[in-house]
Amino acid sequence: MIGLKKRGDYAMVSPLVFWIVAGVTILAALAVVNLTNLIHSALWLVVAFIGVAITYLILEAEFLAAVQVIVYAGAIAILIVFGVMLTRRGDIRESNLFNNYRIFGGLVSLGLLATIVTMVTKTQWAISGAVVPANQVGLLAQNLLGQFVVPFEIAAVLLLVALVGAIIIAKEVRD
């Protein structure tokens, strides 16, 4: 992915790439949900994350793509695997079963999907023909440290708090 051509080229990427990436991502996501082995699910989750990252690339958001790979495919996926390991009990092959909502949940999901799709297709989007600016990362930085500095800092604090909180919650309580 590194060393791609100059700006604006992504728009030229063949629709085929999109279809493939989309297909893989969806399949991976389905696998996450449907497999009964939790470890497998976790691994397929990584695949789905990477698929999303590629989608970002196609959308010309390479910084986000990078973040996606690092944070999701890297950190979060690993965290989840750790979680799986630490809470393992019984047969790992039977570790990821459905509950009673398998059918009904599915129906609701499909209904939701249908609704969203209908709404999406019915809406007339105000598509802008503008070109994506060249220095996206620079712009992002300017925005984050300028206009959005307060949310940015709050996000930082949130992370810290979450970190501390996670440690405290997960820490073994000694009686």
Partner: protein, 102 residues
């Protein structure tokens, strides 16, 4: 030609799959995974809107970044909770976790 709708529908599909996972799985960790999928699909939406509707501004991407941050925090805390619950109850089955009811 890939239009905005394609991305939105992709996101919708991912969202619904994630939702299905969050709803229909027993294991708490699997539920978390479903939620992650949902968050990702939202991010796709944000980025796609940013790209197609106002490419000159970075607002959508910044939102996406915030979501990622929150998602990271959420996973950390969520997993910590799952761990703790597992320690207390020796289970990760969300169906057993109905203490909200008194």
């Amino acid at each position: 030609m890939i239009t905005l709708n394609h991305y939105l529908i992709l996101a919708a599909i991912l969202f619904c799959i994630g939702f299905y996972g969050a709803i229909a799985k027993k294991n708490a960790v699997a539920v978390l995974m479903g939620i992650e999928l949902m968050l990702n699909s939202v991010n796709i939406n944000l980025v796609a809107f940013n790209r197609f509707l106002s490419p000159g501004e970075m607002t959508g991407q910044i939102f996406a970044i915030m979501v990622i941050v929150v998602a990271a925090a959420e996973v950390a805390v969520g997993l910590a909770l799952v761990l703790n619950i597992y320690r207390q109850r020796l289970t990760t089955d969300v169906n057993d976790l109905d203490w909200l009811k008194w």
